[in-house]
């Protein structure tokens, strides 16, 4: 085979064909279509919601009407508080547990770790009946704490951080100990800074999971006081008393906006974080 032939072959080999490009674009357009349609409807007066004219007037009134029609401000506040609370507790608990698993020899370690891993399969999302009973017994129904409690100890976070901590060179650990640092100081000064990318990755995954979580919050809340955005949106859009589509779509986009904007701004970090979180 001559070199010229190889070169052309390799060029052809490396470049996706026109057909590939076409198919990829077609799929992407199909994928973005429902969203684009929602954006169109939300930003135009309702008479244009199913009429596509290039010069249709733009408006923000759908958003302001949706905002006034339901206590979305409260829902936003609830969701924000919920997401921050869950993440903060998850990080503290998982850091301590992961450190114990990674750097301590103790009796029952393997059994304890196996027990942690159980949660990766039997997740709180399924055990709603029993967890509801527990919350009722504790008198916590319809509180933000009740939504968060089953998720505070995250097996996923413990697993992820343990893997990371295991990769930290023991010499660093020993050097810090020689200088007289206690175990928690070592954790704080040596391990946590080295695991920063993993913390970011887990934080993004956790925040988007709990921002979007629906079933458990639906079950355990019954008033505006604790209802997060997802449940609020469902309550708002299922009251079909002639609420028109433009307003529902506006409300829908509004509730997804913070995550969507964050995603568009930090696309690279998002994608990398999800990658990192998925790789064992």
């Amino acid at each position: 085979m001559s070199t010229a032939e190889t070169r052309t072959r390799r060029l052809v080999y490396n470049e996706p064909t026109l057909l590939d490009t076409l198919a990829a674009w077609l799929l992407a357009l199909l994928w973005i279509l429902p969203l684009a349609y929602a954006v169109w409807t939300a930003f135009h007066p309702s008479e244009y919601s199913t009429r596509f004219e290039l010069l249709a007037p733009l408006t923000l009134s759908n958003f302001s009407r949706a905002w006034e029609a339901a206590p979305f401000a409260r829902y936003f506040l609830n969701t924000a508080a919920l997401v921050v609370m869950i993440l903060a507790v998850q990080l503290v608990l998982a850091t301590l547990a992961a450190y114990a698993f990674a750097r301590y020899e103790f009796r029952g370690r393997n059994i304890a770790f196996a027990l942690v891993l159980v949660q990766l399969m039997v997740m709180p999302d399924i055990l709603v009946v029993e967890n509801y009973k527990t919350m009722a017994r504790l008198g916590l129904v319809d509180t933000l704490l009740a939504i968060g409690l089953p998720y505070f100890a995250s097996a996923f976070a413990i697993f992820l951080l343990r893997q990371t901590f295991l990769g930290v060179p023991k010499e660093l650990d020993e050097a810090a100990r020689v200088e007289g640092a206690g175990p928690l100081q070592i954790l704080w000064r040596v391990y946590m800074p080295l695991a920063r990318p993993v913390y970011t990755a887990f934080a993004l995954v956790s925040v988007s999971y709990h921002w979007n979580n629906f079933l458990w919050p639906l079950i355990v809340t019954n008033s505006v006081n604790a209802r997060p955005l997802t449940v609020g949106l469902q309550v708002f859009s299922s009251v079909d008393q002639g609420v028109d589509w433009s307003i529902i779509t506006a409300a829908t986009l509004m509730t997804s906006a913070p995550l969507l904007i964050a995603f568009l701004l930090f696309q690279r970090q998002f994608v990398q974080s999800f990658m990192r979180a998925g790789i064992k």
């Binding site: 547990a97 020899e105 979007n212």
Partner: protein, 289 residues
């Protein structure tokens, strides 16, 4: 040494307590409750043996949910994995508008399922929805996609695939980017066709990723029900009901918590089976790096 052991347990304790309280204990007590009756008013719960499971075997809605869930799984798992792989292969190439493509594929993943369902509800709406207008343009008869038993399950399945594929794409993309570029050069020099290169080189190397994604897709097939609340509520006539949604209805609409516990046990067993399959079959065969 003893002291270090105490330290370790102290650090473990808060997480362990919460795990026991909200994962292990509920799993065990669900099992126990499934052999008892539902307490109603002054009547406390009593041991009824297998009665809840007998009710289950005679509950047509339960069987409908099982059947639907299996169809849902059989459709979403291969479709979302296949699409994810195609997306990743495309986005990994130097293709025109690659950044846009990646964004378009991944965006559904960051949206709440409830919001997604609202958007799709509008998309599927009879007469006004985009889908109807499109099929209308092609001269096809009007059809209520969510309202007719023959298409409701298909319609909610499509939404799930749309939501999931971009998520799985990420893992394939990560795997593809970690592959050694010389593999490809070698294949080009050898004159291997694209199909051959994919079959004999890429696909085997991507196997660990495929299995990881497969497990996640299996779990999701039994966990994803949020969209049903908006799109169909399991209807019409339970045509699109899934197991977890049935569990919700039994437990929190009819408040038959004992029977709901029995359904939970079935779901836990399904998930445990997936876990055991992963542990004993897959992890033995696949050698992670």
């Amino acid at each position: 040494m003893k002291q270090r052991s105490v330290h370790a347990w102290l650090m473990l304790l808060p997480a362990m307590l919460l795990l026991v309280a909200f994962t292990h204990w509920p799993a065990v007590s669900t099992f126990i409750d499934s052999f008892h009756s539902t307490p109603r008013g002054a009547r406390p719960s009593v041991w009824v043996g297998l009665e809840n499971y007998q009710v289950m075997t005679q509950d047509p809605v339960f069987w409908k949910a099982v059947r639907n869930n299996l169809i849902f799984a059989a459709a979403t798992i291969p479709a979302s994995i296949g699409l994810a792989l195609a997306m990743a292969l495309w986005v990994n190439e130097r293709m025109a508008g690659r950044a846009f493509l990646r964004m378009a594929y991944f965006t559904p993943t960051v949206l709440p399922m409830i919001a997604v369902a609202n958007i799709w509800l509008f998309f599927y709406t009879p007469q006004y929805g985009l889908l109807e207008r499109f099929t209308g343009m092609l001269g096809l008869p009007a059809h209520n996609w969510l309202g007719s038993p023959s298409t409701a399950l298909g319609a909610v399945t499509a939404v799930a695939i749309w939501k999931e594929a971009g998520f799985f794409m990420i893992f394939y993309l990560a795997a593809l980017q970690s592959l050694n570029p010389s593999l490809r050069e070698a294949a080009a020099i050898e004159g291997a066709s694209r199909g051959y290169f994919f079959r004999r080189v890429l696909w085997p190397l991507l196997m660990p990723t495929t299995l990881f994604v497969l497990i996640n897709a299996c779990i999701n097939a039994f966990r994803m029900v949020d969209h049903l609340f908006v799109l169909t509520r399991g209807g019409p006539d339970n045509a699109s009901i899934l197991l977890l949604y049935h569990l919700y209805e039994v437990g929190f609409s009819f408040w038959d918590t004992a029977y709901a516990s029995a359904i939970t046990v079935v779901l836990v067993l399904v998930l445990a089976a997936i876990a055991l399959f992963q542990f004993f079959v897959l992890d033995r065969r696949v050698h992670y790096k």
